[in-house]
Symmetry: C3
Subunit: 269 residues, 3 copies
Amino acid sequence: MNAREALRKISDEKPLVHHLTNYVTVNLVANVTLSTGALPVMAHAAEEVEEMASLASALVLNIGTLDPGQIESMLLAGRKANERGIPIILDPVGAGATSLRNRTAERLLAELDVAVVCGNAGEVATLAGLDAEVRGVESLAGDAQTAALQAARSLGVTVAATGPVDYVSDGGGRTLAVSNGHALMGRVVGTGDASTSTIGCFAAVGGADVETVAHALAYYGRAGEIAAGSAGVEGGGTFEPRFLDALQALAGDHESLEGNVRVEELSVG
Amino acid sequence: MNAREALRKISDEKPLVHHLTNYVTVNLVANVTLSTGALPVMAHAAEEVEEMASLASALVLNIGTLDPGQIESMLLAGRKANERGIPIILDPVGAGATSLRNRTAERLLAELDVAVVCGNAGEVATLAGLDAEVRGVESLAGDAQTAALQAARSLGVTVAATGPVDYVSDGGGRTLAVSNGHALMGRVVGTGDASTSTIGCFAAVGGADVETVAHALAYYGRAGEIAAGSAGVEGGGTFEPRFLDALQALAGDHESLEGNVRVEELSVG
Amino acid sequence: MNAREALRKISDEKPLVHHLTNYVTVNLVANVTLSTGALPVMAHAAEEVEEMASLASALVLNIGTLDPGQIESMLLAGRKANERGIPIILDPVGAGATSLRNRTAERLLAELDVAVVCGNAGEVATLAGLDAEVRGVESLAGDAQTAALQAARSLGVTVAATGPVDYVSDGGGRTLAVSNGHALMGRVVGTGDASTSTIGCFAAVGGADVETVAHALAYYGRAGEIAAGSAGVEGGGTFEPRFLDALQALAGDHESLEGNVRVEELSVG
């Protein structure tokens, strides 16, 4: 589904996107979800995650600040999501940095039917079993395209590896490159996490195919371009509020995306 | 107590407002409390909530991201607040969405002497036993006026049901309508939570009667109007910093509220 | 190490600064760390804190929203930091308010080799055994200079007591006064927490001597001055994004700090 169609459906349906996510960027993630036209909800207690997931149209699992209780709740919510057939989007934050994060990402992928994995090049490379350089939750180097393709192949899910250019692969014949975006997005903590939530919004109405995922990232990156060009933006601090405005503006006037989505099919696979 | 008097007392006394709240909007809630002139403090460990509540002038309980440990701490802090006679303000975030939230809101109301309940129309309707449409933590529909009146009657506390117009009822003879506010407040995650904290600031110095609660919401909504009219505000992103500025400006120059508070007594009850 | 040299090293090395911190201001703290040129990472689970601390160049412990599990994780991470010889920076948020906070600050100082303590005057005075007036997490009064000197003497670590003027003492012959800063920093929740993280960034590359700590605060305060003077800043809300921009600008052009760092050696001790 392309970005314009997805945003129109999100606006019509106001899908609930249930998050189990980290406490560092949770506010940005919630605001990006709301700005895109969906309804964010965060609920992590084992006592309610299944019920909340039963109300949702997509489930986002972000392992940025893991603890054992949260892992169990992710599994509970994830099983319910699978039972209901709603897409699970996994952001393996910090995979490659600690064994808890590696093990948890692997366990979630093994025990749940994850629809999309979205992470930076280093995190995705780690999941693909490739060499990666990850420092904390930052990817310092790595070939995002190869990482996306290899991870998608080995995991059997749609994989997005984000960076200056984002690559989205189904592991089979299709890999899409998304060149929307702006360097200022890297000056704000959590823009990676929030790109995963944007995929959650799109998947809630459009499913988890490579086109829908790539268009979520194109919409997200296009908002970054608009924000970066706004008057008075001089760094990550002033960029962030303009970025939320731009997401809201695009979500409300999705026709303006026409001609500005830079998604390219690569002749590889 | 009217808004100007409350803001003057808050400025003089700098009351400590103890919060047990959700991790999604906690930063906004703290900044709104500080901007209003009070001192926010967040403390949730069973080991210290009673001691912290002993230092506070009001206690805000927000169930937005519940877990069992937090519920026990809310009860501990709440009992101490009752013992000391400081007001408890409850925001039943997501009541109507999951049974954990419903049960917890009911338990807090049963075991504690809550002074004010503040939520959106759907959450308040749920507590009143009325039909409600809640999706996650958003109210999709509902008659806020009826919800406020019925909940106040059945719970025996002051109830504020927020929305385009806020209704504040004591369940007896008095229901006030507050028409200050702006639609951009709905484009920022947590403005509902922060309205509850603003009531906490006002109740800390003025008590929990309908007038004080309504004036807290009028001040809060007036700040939204000012922010929405500020140069450069084009969406929820740019609105939020201006909103905090406007709260600070009004709290520092409360006389400027004169003539701009739209609180109306309704002839119902 | 002076600010310019420290910022150059941070830019070259991109040190990982591991935080165990509160959930109220964690987003600001992460953004300030990133804006200074370092990489923030938050990880609190006992299962991974040692491994994460093994990757880090400094460890920041902030007790703003304590609970028992977090305390144990702080000790685990702290022992690993000591083993590796990386500096631990402790922010005793709310010391003086509750006995849990007092006991925890004391325990961390007793069981770990802390390099720097950074807090407001009331918190630092509490650790020094002096009278202090703390309301929640705000210091209402107190002589920051005496607090810094006494705490540094009794604890045997570098101590920074922040306020309108910051004092940094080694408890021996050297106390430095830092007069950079702006009153608007007090209108944003978490600027104290984030100053501690800035010290963490500087200590990661420059160690924990009084000069490096004072220069971290001077850089931080200078960014506040620049932000406060920016067009359109009218309160804490609009100040915050400009503050992050100013930190980024100074970190990227540290030569512009020349002549603007106001660090003075006091002839006391």
